[in-house]
Symmetry: C2
Subunit: 497 residues, 2 copies
Amino acid sequence: MALNSYEKLVERMREISLVDAAAGLLSWDQETYMPPAAIEFRAAQLAYFKGRTHRLFTASEVGDWIKAGEDAAFAPLTKEAVNVREWRRAYDRATKLSPELVEEFERSTSMAWDAWVRARQMSDFATFKPHLSKLLELSRQMADSWGYTDLPYDALLEGYEPGARTRDLQQVFTQLKPSTVRLVGRIGASGGFSAKSKLPGPFPIAAQQTFNREVAERIGFDLNAGRIDVAAHPFCTGLGPSDCRLTTRYDENDFTDSLYSVLHECGHGLYDQGLGKEDFGTPMGSAVSLGIHESQSRLWENHVGRSREFWEYWLPIARKHFPSLATTSAEQIYQHVNQVRPSFIRVEADEVTYDLHIILRFELEQKLLHRELAVEDLPAAWKTLFKELFGLELPDDKQGCLQDIHWSHGSFGYFPTYTLGNLNASQMFKTAERANPNLKADLQRGEYQSLLKWLRQNVHQHGHRYLPPDLMKHATGEPTDGKYHAAYLQQKFGAGA
Amino acid sequence: MALNSYEKLVERMREISLVDAAAGLLSWDQETYMPPAAIEFRAAQLAYFKGRTHRLFTASEVGDWIKAGEDAAFAPLTKEAVNVREWRRAYDRATKLSPELVEEFERSTSMAWDAWVRARQMSDFATFKPHLSKLLELSRQMADSWGYTDLPYDALLEGYEPGARTRDLQQVFTQLKPSTVRLVGRIGASGGFSAKSKLPGPFPIAAQQTFNREVAERIGFDLNAGRIDVAAHPFCTGLGPSDCRLTTRYDENDFTDSLYSVLHECGHGLYDQGLGKEDFGTPMGSAVSLGIHESQSRLWENHVGRSREFWEYWLPIARKHFPSLATTSAEQIYQHVNQVRPSFIRVEADEVTYDLHIILRFELEQKLLHRELAVEDLPAAWKTLFKELFGLELPDDKQGCLQDIHWSHGSFGYFPTYTLGNLNASQMFKTAERANPNLKADLQRGEYQSLLKWLRQNVHQHGHRYLPPDLMKHATGEPTDGKYHAAYLQQKFGAGA
């Protein structure tokens, strides 16, 4: 029996997913177990697989099948309609760029990354500057090729957060900024959450691993279809419909470091494990955006993991693994894991100051892309805005505009998805609480099924069915709005400030 | 610049090696870290990659390029000549079978393996019998398709041991059999090496891991380009030119179990790491045969690792890792790791009785293939021959003809390569000793470079340059001859017997 166009698409995407998932394993292995000397061959393998899936996806017959799929006019929001819609979006993004532009971008990011590593080491912006200029220029060309109705930044943002628009984000972020700056100031002045603390160790790594696994399984992560390993930079990766792998890193002086990495990555992993297995490799079986993905990780890390309820339940269990916690109270751990303090490095930032780091990058990368800020003026602009938001003098560019890898990859429009994640998490958690008034009591009993069930039903199971703004509307009644996050932070940190 | 045919071949083989090595990682991961629920998707990935490399290799243009490579008449034994010769051999083996036969074989082995698992569990030969008949019939057809001048078994053997011939092996094995049977009998009667012993533990797994790594590095295994992990069945796999991975398993009651698995797999690994990295993915950069590969593993496991010299050097170090060995002598460990005792299961057999297990299988599988033994008579024939070789009554087929996986994979002609490995190891070690009269003294000092250097020069670096019989001639002066192994066993075990 001959396959129709839609079936051919599914078959092709299945093939691509087999190769993609193997490339995923190659990458996972590279970060976890690969012997150091194997790096060169591994890079060649990854480049080969990337090229292969690109060719499989951008082949002209795929365009024909998508067109036929569109002509079939599947009923809106059915699995078939969603898949065809998203394949169209991805196909156009992949094929609207000329091969020359794609190649030049690949070459340029590879050189830019190399220069960035050196520049950061030496804290020397001049070394990175020409590469940043080049990547911005190529990104403008890519934005033009993809097209946009309002701002070039929209075309880039679309790659990470389909359906999101720059102007909407500007509005949301503009509201969030002053209230957050005020809150950070008040916390610092009060000395409450800003007090430094240290937990009484030791925290042997083996005991941390056992405790982390217990927490992960309890909140619902299926270790029969997943793993937790060690890597320098924690991440979560899906290597198949029943193979989701998290990583964390261990600090023998503080077990909460690895725990919060695990909770964060578990949030990603629960989303991954909540997608339809039978739709693996198709849009209906994939996470819809970075901003929604990050909402899941931040929800479990912060709203669940950094709550008083969490420690009321887990402290007695933690004491079994770490007897040195015998005289530490739940309130002491709660304070310890909720220290708020302005700092230079984004990835080390606390829950409150984190979004200020993102707002800074979001503002500056728009200006760079739209030629409102010259590349050579970036370090000074960063310094000024950093002072305004954090009240600190930046000592060098290494701790300023050279700290993040993203721009060296040519990823402009990626940063705002982190804050979108925070905002979405607060909005979802509030809605889940409204739907289940016993939610906090459940968390206090170490009972996470009610929350997970709400997320499964309202977020995970939909895959790409709704674009992020619509998904938020379906799940919470309105698109992303910063007021929920501002209220959450105010309620949690405002009282003690 | 256009590539010539030879360059096109190298390029294609490079592509195949990238995919093959990724499949290797998928398999390694399946045995070591993969979550249980991921098995189904993993099987689909492996099947896809296998099909893909098969298509890449058997494409008609590859045949044209090989023909052109032959016409180029490279000087014999140059890298190019060797590669073309071996690509021809592999291409003919892959393309001489009809696609229908290949498909039927794949389908049949898959069902046979499934039946074998159940048959072994229940110790019920009848469950496996029709599958074994089918695989033998297909193997006869494959042998006919590949062709042979003397016996059908030759055509199958060729797949594991290129250049080896059944009649030659028969002659070698026939000499080995009576002397080994006599030796086993004498050892049993004398009570020397057959005495049971137990080492004083405990042997914590973490300490075993540290000790094993120290041994592996000391004998020359490069852990910067390799790893040692845990798996139910120890193996060694090469995942790239600088990525060789071993596995072992741990018994807390006896540290020598994991140690000898590591030494065995390290022997394979040292061969792998001694191949030309720049030739990876081509015959010149690959191991020449199973019998040569096994010679390396057995040489390090037995000739090095089960020697008195080994324990004279390593016991003081082992005591640092396992304080419970304080009063154990090197001679006691030597006796402990050299216990000889007839047993039913091949993979648990000692150095002396091991070859009897192989000789049994070699004789029976020839008869099965050549229709000199009916499949239904296999259990009885096994029982009879086992009694003759081991002097023991077989209690059931689970411990007899159903114990090994090989026939369920349709692998006939594989078993003799194990004993070839033992014979080659003894012959090589003897030659290396002749070349370096201080060899045993070196081993006593924990100095392994002289031995490794000899193996690198005489075996590893050649890749596929010489077929196994010629490689043995170049390395030791003559093709495989059982007298060296018989003499080695007699010298080691005969005195105490």
